[in-house]
């Protein structure tokens, strides 16, 4: 059986490459596999979106890459290469060198992601002073520049503020400033705008996009919102039940989604543009619980294109009929096959 790489061939060698990564919780007797065989790659300066719903394994994949899985979680297989180094084999000390400097993380809720008992300036400067050996005054100057760069007005005075004294948008900006403080090569943003108001979300996305271009970073944007990836990514990987089910360039994915899940997700999204449909078209049923995995293709109980083969066999991630650079994990192609049953017939 040939394994296909999830990632489309990129012009430059990838800076971060995840291959056949698995993440599991618990011991062997009660193992819960939350990420299966995920392969992804991102080139310098490229923006990759990872889209999926809660529990699909998108955040777990990236925490495994950063070696930040919570207790009980472990990598059950595969490899992570960053800048030519095997991340999973690095010593704890070397991993610290990669975190922040190579791979930086922005998490969802800046209120909980910032230490409530420390001023913004102190937490920003911490790795600069204690890892890079920058002097206190220099670190302060650098932090003020960074806050200015992310659009926080009165940056110098803000260094002395505690997180709860800032608004939601400003906190998220401060978190972004912290993430880019050590000039990372890859910025991993995990739902960076989910907790924000829509107008603030637009500003933060614009900021992340601008910083990526100006600083030449690669971006991995993890989100449940297809609208968010549409604007700021070059390529998108769609995840369902711990597996990548489709990857394509952003243009391709939205123009011709090939996995029934991607298609259903797009159809179920309420929109502010186009015709108002009287009813939304939700995906019937519920996503599977990783503690009781589904046989065959994990999406088959909810899929409107389901065939007999989907119940037993797991489809591999292979290039679709349309040719390369758009691999899909599905036995059917919704563009050439009619649905086997209407949406909504599946068990609820």
């Amino acid at each position: 059986m040939t394994m296909h790489s999830n990632a489309a061939p990129s012009p430059a060698a990838p800076i971060l490459e995840v291959s056949h990564l698995g993440v599991a919780y618990g011991n062997d007797a009660r193992k819960v596999q939350v990420v299966h065989d995920v392969s992804l790659a991102v080139s310098p300066g490229e923006a990759l979106g990872i889209v999926g719903e809660s529990g699909c394994g998108k955040s777990q994949t990236m925490l495994a890459v950063l070696r930040l899985l919570p207790r009980g979680g472990r990598v059950s297989g595969g490899a992570v290469r960053f800048d030519g180094r095997d991340v999973l084999a690095l010593s704890a000390r070397d991993v610290r060198g990669i975190r922040g400097h190579g791979l930086a993380l922005i998490s969802q809720d800046a209120l909980t992601a910032l230490n409530p008992a420390m001023t913004i300036g102190t937490q920003m400067a911490e790795p600069l002073i204690h890892y890079d050996g920058v002097s206190g005054a220099q670190a302060r100057k650098r932090c003020a520049e960074l806050l200015d760069l992310v659009g926080i007005p009165g940056a110098t005075s803000r260094l002395g503020s505690y997180p709860h004294e800032l608004s939601g948008g400003m906190r998220q900006r401060a978190l972004i400033a912290m993430a880019i403080s050590a000039n990372p090569k890859v910025l991993i943003a995990d739902e960076p705008t989910t907790a924000l108001d829509v107008t603030t979300q637009a500003q933060i996305l614009q900021l992340i996009d601008r910083l990526r271009r100006d600083l030449g970073m690669a971006l991995i944007l993890i989100t449940h919102d297809l609208g968010v990836v549409a604007g700021v990514t070059d390529r998108v990987a769609v995840m369902y039940a711990g597996r990548v089910v489709e990857t394509a360039t952003t243009e391709d994915l939205f123009a011709s989604p090939r996995h029934p899940y991607t298609k259903a997700l797009l159809d179920s999204t309420a929109r502010i543009e186009g015709q108002v449909s009287d009813r939304l078209s939700p995906i019937p049923g519920l996503p599977p619980d990783p503690r009781s995995p589904v046989s065959g293709c994990a999406f088959h109980p909810r899929c409107s294109y389901v065939r007999d083969v989907c119940h037993q066999d797991l489809p591999q991630l292979v290039d679709g009929i349309a040719g390369g650079e758009h691999p899909v994990r599905c036995f059917v192609d919704p563009f050439v096959t009619a649905p086997a049953r209407r949406a909504g017939e599946a068990a609820r």
Binding site: R96, G97, R99, S181
Partner: protein, 314 residues
Amino acid sequence: MLSFILNRALQIIPVIIGVTIATFLLAQIIPGDPADVLLGSTASEETRQELRTALGLSEPVYIQYGIYLKNLLQGDLGQSFTFAEPVTQVLVSRLFNTSLLAIAAIILASIVGVAAGTWAALKPGSIRDQGLSVVVLFFNSMPSFWLGLVLILIFGLHLRLLPVGGMDDATGSLAGLAAHMVLPTFTLAAWSLAVIARMTRSAILDVINSDYIRTARSRGVSEARIVLRHALPNAMPTVITVIGMQMGFLLSGAVLTETVFSWPGIGLAMYQAISTRDIPLIQGGILVLAIAFVLINFVVDILYAYFNPKIKLA
């Protein structure tokens, strides 16, 4: 902050009135007639009755309470039968001794407890962590009088390293005092030390799973800094509350420890008072201990608010 302190101070008054009622009634409930104790069972009923009248024991209960309260406000807690001294005098001279022991114990318990808890939390599930759990369980399940006796046996009688009773040697030197303090302080601190260590460990493990800890890790901050600079300060409010509660418990723990080590504190006096049914001294002792407990809680509340500028001071 000032209004918060005033508010809490006002709340203390009814508590203290309640304490005086409780201590008064407590003494009423204790079975046994002081006349028997003082005069022996051979005395005639007439002599006993005279003594009761002299002591005010034949008045109705509420009158006795009124007298008690009036005397209390004048600093008169009555006369101790056993020490043949005013209760106030007995307690004042001993309050210092008890405080010395209690303060030494809480300092020991806090420093060692927080350090041990933090050290264990650095590597949850490790051998050192499990080792701490065993020690905690050991200290928490061992009564302090037994621990005291074991320590006396080992360090005092077998190794002959430390004195086993009293407060100072004949010279009255500071070194002598220190030597006499070692065993009682450790005995008194053991239980609290274990509780503080356990709570520090779990408070740190609670915050160690926070998002901001993950943020710090994702930026390459070292594990030691994460525990000391990120986790510990955020765990402090919980730890302070526990330490405050332990300070209260130490006062009651002092009764047993002082008895075992013949430490001339309130606890020992209380023990003697109870065994001789010295009601005024029992009342006075409980009152002093209860008021100390209330005041300690008051201070802890203020400290807690001080460490938590975000909590609503209402």
